[in-house]
Amino acid sequence: MRRALPFAIIGAVLVLAAGGGLLLFRAKYSSTPIKIAAGKPGGEPSHLRGSAQARVTLEEFGDFQCMPCGILAATLLKVEHDYATSVRVIFRHFPLSNHAHAFTAACAAEAAGLQGRFWEMHDLLFQNARHWSKGDPLPFFAGYAATLGLDVERFKKDMESEQVKTRIRQDQERGVSIAVDRTPTLFLNGVQVPFTSLDAADLRRTIDAELSGGAPTPVPPGPGSNLQTPTPGPPK
C-alpha cells in the first residue's frame, strides 16, 4: 500500500494538472468563433485599407502596445500586398487597460488620421512599439509625426482632443458589443479567425478558402470610409 502511494500522488497531480489546464483553456477560449451579427458600429468613417471591391474584409481589433498585434500587423501588410484587390483591412482600436500607453498610442494614430496619415502612423507605432512602450511615449509620437511630415503642434493638440478619444471609445464599444475580450481579434467577413490561425500561412489558407467558395463580403465601405490602397511596404 505504501509502495503505491507515491505513484498515486503523481497520478493524481497529473490528472489535476491536465484537468485544471483544460478547464482554464475552456474558460479562456471559446471554440465557437464569434460571428458579427449585430453590434455597435464603431468609429466612423472606419480606417480601411485595400480595394473597395475586395471580396474579403479583415476587421482587426488591436492594441498598439500588444506585441502579438504587432506581429499580426506585419502579417496583414504582407497579405494586403499579396491579395492586392481581393482583401481589405479595417483597424479598430481596442486598447487594453493593462497596457499603460496603449490608449495614448491610439490617440496618436487617430490624431495622425485627422491629417490623413492614420495607416502610416499605425505602421510606425507597431514597428517601434518596443521603443515607445517604455517610459514617456509622447516624444516618440511627436517624432513619428514629424517623420510623416505632419503639423506636429496640431498633432499634439489633436491627441488631447475629445473627438479623438470619443472615436477610440466607439471602436472599443463595438468590440465589447460583439464579445471581443482580447487583442488581436480578427474577423474575416464577419467571422472570427481563431487566434491559432493568425500566422501568415494559416491566414492565407483561410482567405483562399473564402475566395474560392465564399460570397462577396457583406460589409461594403461607407461613403465616408477612410479608404486607402495597400502600401507595398512600411513608410520610410
Partner: protein, 161 residues
C-alpha cells in the same frame, strides 16, 4: 533492480517534499502561461510591464509549441522524482538532478534573453526562474546533507553486519 525499490525511507523526506511543493507551484505557473499562449490572451503583468513583449517573442515557443509547455513537463517530472525520492527511491535523485540542472540552464538562458535581447521582463517567467533556482538549491542541499550523513549511515551498516 534492487536500488529502484524504496529504501528504508528517505534520509531527508522534508527536503524532497519541499522540492515537490516548489515543483507544483512551477507547474501551476507553467500551465497558466501555456494556456495564455494558446488562447492568445495577453498575460497581465503585476510588477513589470513586459509580459506581452516576452510571451509573444520568438523565444516564447518552439515551432507552435509554447516554451511554457516544456516547462510544465519539466516541473511535473521534477515533482514526480521528488515524491519518489521522498518515499525512499534512491535512484530517482539522479534523474531529479539532471532535470533540475536542465531547468537551471534553460532559466539562465531565458533570463539572459529577457535582460539583454528583449530588454523586457515577464513576472510569470521571473517566478518560474526563482522557483527553478530554488529547486536547484534544494537539490544541491540534498547532496550536501547526504555527504554529511554518509559516515553515520556507513557506521549503521557496519553495526548491523
Amino acid at each position: 533492480m534492487s536500488n529502484s525499490r524504496p529504501a528504508h525511507g528517505s534520509p531527508h523526506p522534508r527536503l524532497f517534499a519541499s522540492v515537490a511543493l516548489l515543483s507544483l507551484a512551477g507547474l501551476a505557473d507553467s500551465i497558466y502561461l501555456t494556456v495564455t499562449h494558446l488562447t492568445g490572451e495577453n498575460a497581465a503583468c503585476f510588477a513589470s510591464s513586459g509580459c506581452s513583449e516576452v510571451l509573444s517573442s520568438v523565444y516564447a515557443s518552439v515551432g507552435k509549441i509554447p516554451l511554457a509547455a516544456f516547462g510544465a513537463w519539466g516541473y511535473f517530472a521534477a515533482f514526480s522524482c521528488a515524491i519518489l525520492a521522498a518515499f525512499g527511491y534512491p535512484r530517482v535523485r539522479t534523474f531529479l538532478t539532471v532535470i533540475v540542472a536542465g531547468m537551471v540552464v534553460t532559466t539562465l538562458w531565458l533570463l539572459y534573453v529577457q535582460a539583454f535581447v528583449l530588454h523586457a521582463f515577464c513576472d510569470f517567467c521571473l517566478i518560474s526562474a526563482a522557483l527553478s533556482l530554488s529547486l536547484s538549491a534544494l537539490v544541491a542541499t540534498s547532496y550536501f546533507i547526504k555527504r554529511r550523513h554518509r559516515p553515520a549511515a556507513e557506521r549503521a551498516v557496519l553495526l548491523e553486519s
